[in-house]
């Protein structure tokens, strides 16, 4: 596949209270960003099992973006801390699996940060484009 026309497939796991609400705000503010991220909404980012992430990579996701609340803002007290720890561990594991750890990104985006949401989607899509498809030329 030509790297230039490569349109990555990205899964976005977003918590309901912060990042998904930020996505709502980005929409309400009519921000524009690339269409590559398909959002899946959770109550809390701590519901995301590393297996779900691996499942996404296994089924062809070129990138996985996790969005939660900032530390101290978690609606469920400390779910985001659990997420942070799980993602840190998974990052180590990804290298062993031959997946560039840049393909998994964790971002804290609050409900007020529609602008940041837009920026993160843009940046992450660009980065994955640079990395190329997960299958084929350059995992």
């Amino acid at each position: 596949m030509n790297k230039e026309n490569f349109e990555p497939k990205i899964i976005g796991f977003f918590c309901k209270w912060c990042t998904s609400a930020a996505a709502d705000l980005a929409g309400t503010s009519r921000k524009k960003y690339p269409p590559n991220v398909v959002p899946i909404r959770f109550f809390c980012s701590s519901r995301i099992d590393p297996q779900h992430i691996l499942h996404a990579f296994e089924h062809g996701a070129d990138g996985v973006l996790i969005g939660g609340c900032h530390f101290g803002d978690c609606h469920y007290q400390d779910g985001n801390y659990k997420t942070a720890r799980r993602v840190a561990l998974l990052h180590n594991l990804l290298n062993d699996l031959g997946i560039d750890k840049r393909r998994l990104r964790l971002e804290w985006i609050s409900a007020a940060e529609g602008e940041k949401f837009t920026k993160v989607i843009q940046e992450f899509t660009d980065e994955i484009k640079k990395l190329g498809p997960i299958r084929g030329n350059g995992a």
């Binding site: 497939k9 980005a26 269409p35 909404r41 809390c44």
Partner: protein
């Protein structure tokens, strides 16, 4: 397989403009599981909703996907629609193709493609959605309001007036908070106390309010509708059921401490009511356990107590208190080794309080006539009339036991009279204590030697219990050559002869061997008998066990002490002529912790002597006791450490007989202990010895204490110390009062019992314990309030070093008619009226670099009020305010500010850089930013308009509540605009300044808002919870309990019998962190199970 209906909304053109809804509908129709798909202009409209309900019937749909806007907006709408169509509301899901798609993309084919992916992933989710029922929970119709300031008072009254039972918890003894400390309130200048006290009284009298002051919430569990709280009601040490607030106790209490209510501008008593209008109108005792001196005393003598009484001039009461725990007040006032003084906290500041000498002072000045009592109870025998035996007799006789003391010698007092020379302990002073003991009806038989004149077994038969306190009189040997030569004397034997006025004849040169008190006593006696005396001690002064002050006095009297010298041989024909000695050096510490002396080879030398007195040590003589009595290897008796009972039942032992040679106060303690156990045994009760916390001033408090010289004990001039006249002469009243005033009142309340004497309702309860109260409540209002920022942190403004730099709250008290100056503005330093007062605004606030970043909001207005009230009190006074900005947003505030400036207050715009003292004047240095000049203003007084912070210590409580705080520890509201009185935990509401700086009107309205939110919950019978919580598949659960640790709400618990985890549904909030932590897949969040997530992912990734 489910029949799924998909309904795609155009949202006018909001979706349809960038998403090809027709093409999308056609594509979705073909997706597996979709039984029906259609689109409509406005799905949320009535016709749109009808499309859904009709389609459910027509196409026999089992599940619904509405592709429209964000579920935040319309999930509830479409779930209701689904329910109206006859399906369970939880089989309806929304696909957000507006905010997440049509609004953020421009190209139609791209947006349409993404919308299809979003919808398909939601179709996958809904395939596995199960019908769920909302969780219904009963509501406990009771509320808890935490904090008794104006916010808590208002919230509690509002809730109670709605007919709901309310518990108001306040940590201090009275409600009222900071508002009751204020003089008048801006901008209307209402008297704070006048408008607040009626509300406080209403709280106390409201039949729906349970008021718990001096209480704190300790634990909280549960969730909205059903919280369970544990409240610690601190002990006020006064039975509030009985206390009538009369205040008699306050008059007699001899202990003063800082008055927190008056911001430390004045003192209050240890027994106190925070302010006259306190609600409840009850007294409280400030008590921090027992003081270190009392804890250090083996007999637990209440030193802080009698010192306080001496300070108050109540010498008789002081003596009575001394004798409560120790009948030998007169003896111990002179010769106690006073471990109390070693632990005296005053010693950390300068020198310990002269506790023992004060004790003697009370004996000499507070002696009183005692009536002769005749006990009638059981008979007890005590053997030995030393301090141990007589103490035991005293404590038992006080309990009405008939005690007979058997003494082998002809005189009473044991080692007190036989071992201690008169110049240290006059015989009259011993008699004073013995007479006191005898007054309780203690019989003493002298000259009766048990084992000779009467057998122990006879006594055992005659008496219910026997206490052995025969001391340690057998002298140890030095084990050197020539020890038996004439002229070698044994110390106790020697002292005994002198004390019994038997003849002793000493030669010119005397050496005393040993370093204990007996050695020093023997040396001083020998000196008085006219000899040249040298003490030889094998270690250094540091290791010397004798009391250091005794050693000092001995040296003063001309006694030489040779350290690091030990005798090796006594040389002489029949009579001693010389002592051969060897020099020692100190090695490693031995079992006693002192460094072991090691002989220096070849350093032997001889000293010509006429007498050598051996004061090595003594051991008890126990040959008159049968072998049934177990002994230790040191020849002392074995007793039970708790009861002091020997290995023979009914026979107890204490004092030197058990401990080996020890102190008087230790013997008293043993006598006391034995008396307690004997009494408990006879009465058949279990003896409980209460442990007390050690009370002492806070380290900060210690730092601020001024050093003061310890009173010197007047002594007999050295030239007059020839005979046996007492050397220490005792304090006079003046020096005793001064010395007593050095006491730091470590435990605050000294338990002197004066309040008990005057309390008519008999309400004082010094041994009262904290109570734990438990309640179920449906909702909470948190109104924990604020504190002022620590002024000590503003070093540049001189608070704490310049006495007339005060905080705004202190100035409120100076303005208040009920304050320490009765409303006259006076300087704390000299009580004069300040002619010019400088107010510094933003003290601690709006200073991101050094202090608080935020604006404390109320300071501009209260400073304006301060200036005005000062001007009202002091007409010729000159108020000057330094400010950064004057913020007067509020009804009537700007008008008030205008009035203040009109009435003659100068405002200088600029920040103060420094406040210092120069020639008795305070100088305020700052910038006038309007004129661009540096200004220096002389002032008589400076008031710091302190910023405010959340109440110190409340963060611990907030952590227990599991609600959020911001970076400054202010409580976080659920939404800054739309939900300002709710926390983000359902059922917990916020009121007052705990949420952020605010003035009184704002606080009151927010409190009413919080109350109405609480009432909305509390007046419902039951409330519903979302059922999308996490359950447990018990077939898969291994009981590993990982999920239990992960759950932030304690909703999961291991059932140890079934070894599976059980869930309390009402506690689970549905975060799902357990589901991702569960290794076996047993924990699954309802309608968001693993397979749903995986299918959603897979479908979103499918290429078409």
């Amino acid at each position: 397989m489910k029949n799924i209906g998909v309904f795609i909304c155009h949202c006018g053109i909001n979706i349809a403009k960038t998403v090809d809804v027709e093409a999308l509908t056609e594509e979705i129709k073909k997706y597996p599981g979709v039984a029906h798909a259609e689109n409509y202009k406005y799905m949320c409209s009535d016709p749109g909703q009808n499309i859904i309900t009709e389609a459910i019937k027509k196409h026999k749909l089992d599940a619904i996907v509405v592709s429209a806007c964000s579920p935040t907006l319309h999930e509830n709408t479409f779930r209701n629609t689904t329910a109206r169509g006859g399906l369970n509301r939880y089989v309806c899901e929304m696909a957000n193709i507006r905010e997440h798609c049509s609004w953020v993309h421009d190209e139609k084919d791209i947006a349409t493609k993404k919308a299809a992916k979003i919808i398909k992933s939601i179709i996958e989710k809904v395939k596995y959605d199960e019908p769920l029922d909302p969780i219904l929970v009963n509501v406990t119709k009771r509320s808890l309001v935490v904090g008794g300031g104006i916010a808590g008072i208002q919230a509690a009254l509002d809730i109670a007036n709605a007919g709901v039972e309310t518990i108001l918890v306040e940590k201090s003894p009275s409600i009222g908070g900071h508002m009751i400390q204020l003089s008048e309130t801006f901008p209307t200048l209402d008297c704070s106390q006048c408008i607040m006290t009626p509300k406080m009284v209403e709280v106390a009298q409201h039949d729906k309010i349970t008021l718990l002051t001096y209480s704190e919430v300790e634990e909280i569990a549960g969730s909205v509708g059903n919280f369970h709280v544990k409240i610690r009601q601190k002990s006020p040490y006064i039975d509030w059921e009985k206390c009538n607030g009369c205040g008699e106790c306050d008059q007699v209490c001899p202990v003063t401490t800082n008055d927190e209510f008056e911001c430390n501008l004045s003192d209050r008593k240890a027994i106190y009511r925070p302010f006259p209008q306190a609600v409840p109108n009850r007294y409280t005792i400030s008590k921090k356990g027992h003081p270190p001196c009392r804890i250090a005393c083996p007999a637990g003598v209440n030193a802080q107590g009698y010192i306080a009484l001496i300070r108050a001039g109540k010498y008789k009461e002081a003596l009575a208190l001394e004798r409560e725990a120790n009948p030998f007040a007169s003896v111990c006032g002179r010769v106690c080794n006073h471990p109390c003084e070693s632990d005296c906290v005053r010693g950390e500041v300068d020198q310990p309080v002269a506790i023992a000498s004060l004790k003697r002072f009370a004996v000499e000045n507070g002696s009183y006539e005692f009536e002769q009592k005749k006990p009638t109870g059981e008979k007890i025998a005590v053997i030995g009339s030393g301090p141990g035996g007589l103490s035991c007799a005293y404590f038992l006789a006080k309990q009405n036991y008939q005690v007979t003391v058997y003494e082998a010698e002809k005189i009473v007092g044991g080692m007190l009279v036989l071992g201690i020379p008169e110049f240290r302990l006059p015989r009259d002073s011993i008699k004073q204590d013995i007479d006191f003991i005898k007054s309780f009806g203690v019989q003493i038989k002298t000259g009766v030697k048990v084992g000779e004149h009467v057998s122990l077994s006879e006594l055992q038969k005659e008496y219910r219990a026997v206490f052995l306190a025969t001391g340690a009189y057998e002298e140890m040997k030095l084990n050197v050559e020539g020890e038996n030569l004439e002229g070698v004397l044994h110390c106790i034997d020697f002292l005994k002869k002198v004390n019994l006025s038997e003849k002793v004849s000493l030669g010119k040169n005397v050496v005393v061997i040993g370093g204990g008190n007996a050695a020093v006593d023997a040396a001083r006696v020998a000196k008085r008998e006219g000899s040249n005396v040298t003490i030889l001690y094998r270690r250094s002064r540091r290791e010397m066990p004798a009391n250091s002050w005794e050693v000092d006095e001995a040296i003063e009297e001309g006694i030489k002490i040779e350290f690091l010298v030990a005798p090796t041989k006594a040389i002489g024909k029949d009579k001693i002529e010389k002592v051969e000695c060897i020099r020692m050096e100190l090695g490693e510490p031995d079992s006693s912790g002192r460094r072991r002396p090691i002989p220096v080879k070849g350093s032997e030398f001889t000293v010509p002597v006429d007498n050598m007195i051996l004061a090595i040590s003594q051991r008890p003589k126990t040959d008159w006791l049968s072998s049934e009595f177990e002994r230790t290897k040191w020849g002392t008796l074995v007793v039970d450490a708790d009861t002091l009972e020997t290995t023979v039942k009914g026979v107890y032992a204490g004092g030197d007989l058990v401990s080996g040679p020890a102190t008087i106060i230790e013997a008293v303690a043993a006598g006391q202990k034995a008396a307690e156990t004997i009494d408990a045994k006879i009465r058949g009760i279990k003896l409980e010895r209460k442990e007390y916390a050690t009370g002492r001033p806070d380290p900060e408090e210690l730092k601020s204490i001024q050093k003061r010289q310890r009173a010197q004990m007047p002594t007999l001039d050295v030239s007059k110390r020839k005979g046996y006249d007492e050397v220490e002469l005792g304090f006079d009243k003046e020096s005793a009062a001064k010395e007593a005033d050095r006491c730091l009142n470590c435990a605050i309340c000294c338990e002197c019992q004066q309040c008990e004497e005057v309390c008519e309702p008999d309400a004082i309860a010094h041994d009262m314990n904290d109570k734990i109260l438990e309640y179920d409540v449906g909702a909470l209002v948190v109104a924990t309030g604020f504190d002022i920022y620590e002024p000590e942190r503003l070093k540049e403004y001189g608070y704490g070093t310049i006495p007339d730099v005060v905080t705004s709250l202190q100035f409120e008290r100076l303005l208040s008619a009920s304050g320490p100056t009765a409303g006259d503005v006076k300087r704390p330093s000299d009580g004069t009226v300040p002619k010019r007062v400088v107010f510094i605004q933003c003290a601690g606030s709006r200073d991101k670099e050094n202090h608080l970043e935020y604006c404390s909001k109320i300071c501009c207005m209260y400073t304006a009020k301060h200036a005005l009230l000062y001007k009202h009190r002091v007409h010729e006074g000159e108020p000057i305010i330094f400010y950064i900005d004057v913020r007067t947003a509020g009804k009537g505030y700007e008008e008030f500010y205008n009035r203040v400036t009109d009435e003659g207050t100068t405002y200088i715009r600029g920040k103060v850089s420094k406040v210092y003292q120069d020639n008795g004047k305070i100088v305020v240095m700052g910038a006038d930013t309007l004129s661009g000049k540096q200004v220096e203003v002389e002032a008589d007084m400076v008031v710091l308009a302190m910023g405010i912070v959340p109440t110190r210590g409340s963060e611990e409580f907030v952590r227990r509540l599991k609600i959020q705080c911001d970076a400054n520890e202010w409580l976080t509201e659920a939404h800054p605009k739309l939900r300002p009185v709710e926390s983000n935990t359902a059922g917990i509401f916020l009121a007052g300044a705990a949420q952020g700086p605010k003035d009184i009107p704002e606080v009151v309205s927010q409190a009413s808002g919080a109350a109405s939110k609480a009432i909305a919950i509390l007046t419902q019978k039951e409330i519903t919870f979302e059922p999308t919580i996490a359950g447990v598949n018990e077939d898969l659960c291994s009981g590993c309990s990982i999920c239990v640790g992960v759950c932030p709400y304690n909703a999961r618990e291991l059932d140890k019998e079934e070894m599976v985890v059980k869930v309390t549904e009402s506690l689970c909030q549905g975060c799902g962190s357990c589901s991702s932590a569960c290794p076996s897949g047993a924990a699954q969040q309802r309608n968001l199970i693993d397979i749903q997530i995986e299918k959603m992912v897979t479908s979103a990734l499918e290429e078409k």
